[in-house]
């Protein structure tokens, strides 16, 4: 009897969690659709895009991330080269280091590391900014002025992220290859030119494109989660902290999930 009761309770709990999760996903999708509406549809109905907001967001999420992103992906490239060399050395195949680094950077680590850095810098900032505005009634003020918060705050962030994340990813790929090259030149008898050339040789356009497609999806995911967490912030300053933390944790999880889905998709579509 007790056992049955326990089982029912567990089942109810699981059901509740699944329903909550689906509701959350539904919320993200709605937010994305509304932002897309304000980006692609309403400019033709006399509600212009907020270019100024989008450009300043792009500066913030894109350009200002470059120094730290460069440093991190340079190190990641170096680490990849070291790890690849550890195994390749045994077969005397050190000259494959270049292609190993180039492929793993462009297909996977470039987009992923960029996304995780952007979550830390911008996803959290979106949640904190919108959450603070929620707490100080600025979101309410927008609504009473008949200004849609999604149009005013969320849509510019989507535009900025969808444009900037692929750009950052390309930059991250290049810095990673550069990091690999440092190892290649110092330890594997490459010249700079030969390392870069064998990297370019190893890459197919589809490697780069699949990485960039992923990075666009990551941008959409990070923005949707960050803004949704901000908009769901309850009353009080400590709630802003909670939203920000949740934005980071949920974004990382969702980005990995999206990564898995798209990697599997590309795999089964035969894109190598």
């Amino acid at each position: 009897m007790v056992l049955v009761g326990g089982k029912v309770e567990v089942a109810t709990q699981i059901g509740q969690t699944v329903t909550d999760g689906l509701a959350y996903l539904g919320g993200l999708t709605m937010l994305g659709i509304r932002a897309a509406y304000f980006t692609f549809v309403s400019p033709f109905q006399g509600k212009p895009l907020r270019w100024r907001g989008a450009i300043s967001q792009a500066m913030q999420t894109g350009v200002r991330a470059l120094p730290i992103l460069s440093l991190i992906t340079f190190f990641i490239g170096l680490i990849l080269a070291l790890q690849a060399a550890y195994e390749l050395r045994r077969f005397g195949a050190l000259n494959y280091v270049a292609s190993a680094v180039a492929i793993s950077m462009t297909r996977e680590l470039g987009p992923l590391i960029t996304a995780i850095l952007v979550i830390g810098r911008s996803g959290s900032a979106f949640a904190a900014e919108i959450g603070t505005m929620k707490v100080t009634e600025e979101i309410d003020a927008l609504e009473t002025m008949a200004i849609d918060p999604v149009h005013f705050l969320v849509a510019p962030k989507f535009i900025a992220m969808i444009v900037m994340l692929p750009c950052l990813t390309i930059w991250a790929n290049m810095m990673g290859i550069l990091g690999g090259a440092v190892f290649g030149v110092a330890q594997a008898d490459f010249t700079w030119t030969r390392y870069i050339l064998s990297s370019v040789d190893a890459l197919f356009l589809r490697d780069i494109v699949t990485g960039l497609v992923k990075s666009v999806m990551f941008g959409i995911t990070i923005t949707a989660v960050g803004c949704q967490e901000g908009l769901l912030t309850g009353a009080g300053a400590e709630q802003v902290g909670k939203s920000t933390t949740r934005a980071v944790v949920v974004s990382i999880f969702m980005v990995i999930l999206v990564d898995l889905v798209f990697t599997a998709l590309f795999f089964f579509m035969g894109a190598r």
Binding site: M133, T136, E137, E138, D140, A141, E143, T144, M145, A146, I147
Partner: protein, 277 residues
Amino acid sequence: MDQTTGMAMESEAMISLRNLRVSYGDREILHGISFDVKRGETLVILGGSGSGKSTLLRTLVGLERPSSGEIWLKGKNIAAISPAEMDEIRKKIGMSFQGGALFGSMTVGENVALPLREHTKLEEPTIEIILRLKLDQVGLSGFENYMPSQLSGGMKKRAAVARALAMDPEILFFDEPSAGLDPIIAAGVDELILDLKKAFHMTIIVVTHELASAFLIADRMVLIDKGHVVAIGTTAEMRASQQPRVRQFLDRVPEPAVSQELDYLQMLTEQNHPPTR
């Protein structure tokens, strides 16, 4: 005694509430509120913390959806209209929030001009003129290039009023206009509300628990308690009221302390029926 603008032509209802109920989830906050706000009057909604007065205000400006009942505003029942229609009505109302709710990333000038830039096709020079006019009305001339963080609490409230006035609203809502201000600054804000009333014959609705301020600015008052309207009337009628709850609020009598264990237990078990006094 009180100088109401109670001319015959102005006595028609601007807002009518009919049996308004509002809930957060399962918890009902407002249990059937009905009253009228007359055109051109200043109505103060009084009530203690947790009485539901802020929820009432949020419902009136369309931030909360009522679970049932009607709110008639400018001939439309805003409890049952589409978001697009609500946005049209929102352009005719102004709201001054408790903490000002100015956008921290914009200057005072950009804050005040925002509704004009969003909703009108006015030329930039015209907007500049309106902006200066509105800032002048609230006594903040020359502050358009300040950031909200550089303003004091009272100035923030004034800037928020200027923003609420930007679209020349017919109805102006205030949430706790004197909250968090020292008595002198608070009196200044009261003075501002009186000036607006005199100058524009605007319909003004103020939510507050500050009695002195309420009696100074109000034509009529509504006392809300636990989600019900306890009393409604002119300031004179409220002062003369013998209703126990009104007297308790106006005379600032604290809730009777629970001294007996038995009473306390009874109060816990009968939460819906507060002990009679």
